[in-house]
Symmetry: C2
Subunit: 176 residues, 2 copies
Amino acid sequence: MGGGDWLRHVPDGDNRERLVCPDCGFINYQNPKIVVGAVASFEDRLLLCRRAINPRKGYWTIPAGYLENHESVEHGARREASEEACADLALDGLLAVYNIPRISQVQLIYRARLENPQSVAAGDETLEVMLVGWDEIPWDDLAFPSVHWALEHWRRVADQGIFPPFGNPEGATGDY
Amino acid sequence: MGGGDWLRHVPDGDNRERLVCPDCGFINYQNPKIVVGAVASFEDRLLLCRRAINPRKGYWTIPAGYLENHESVEHGARREASEEACADLALDGLLAVYNIPRISQVQLIYRARLENPQSVAAGDETLEVMLVGWDEIPWDDLAFPSVHWALEHWRRVADQGIFPPFGNPEGATGDY
């Protein structure tokens, strides 16, 4: 199956159209994807990564990526920071749950402390990394709306012990 | 493709084995699935549903199910309660994020108020519904460990304004 030849069909016992192979009946359930990431701070500086891959190659983001099978969300958030920025994180609360419905994405973003500020470095999917103060954040060159949201939300609870996770800003869809 | 004939192969630019169709090269990425649900209360009673489907047919659960594409997590939690128990919920905080790594499942469970206690009823996937006080919960007949966790966690924050979401109890995997 090339992915373009699937039939749309409601399987028995289901209530929605799914992609079904016309040859063998295999049902290709498509589910929302989970992105895990973190706003990681060291003292008053934040970890940002410049993307080496599309979408939004060359723009700045927080370390984040797709959760893998058989992985906890916490493990995934730390793994992505390790892969993208050679960063070792201690998670410190779920900062936000964002929905990007157009692309069926749910983002779980943690507040984290960066444990190895001296040794952060660009991973394979990153052009460069930096630790920046709040006033040095390149707001016009951030990769995605949700990166803006996460940084702004982080600032509101940076010094707070417990807090409930944020969601999308009112009315925001995350499209860019 | 019948699902059993996929090849395991690391695609270019990836770092993990994926299922690839040997005929056309279609990559069947398999991702963790998101379950959304709620512990819904009316006064001092909680909404439970007896499952009409496997796994764990005949056992009691909270309303919960798979998030659909293009759906927010909050919408999904309310939709599942509507489909399974004809229940109308007002969500009131993210109660928990649970990981069940063996089956690559992430559960987002909300605290909710039941808005229509008079009209809850069994949906297609439910044998019966009930509203029970804490001492009437059928602990030995709950469907999944995470149902236990969610009820216990709900009790700890039932009267609390803000709280951070719970995770798995220490060391618990969610297997049953």
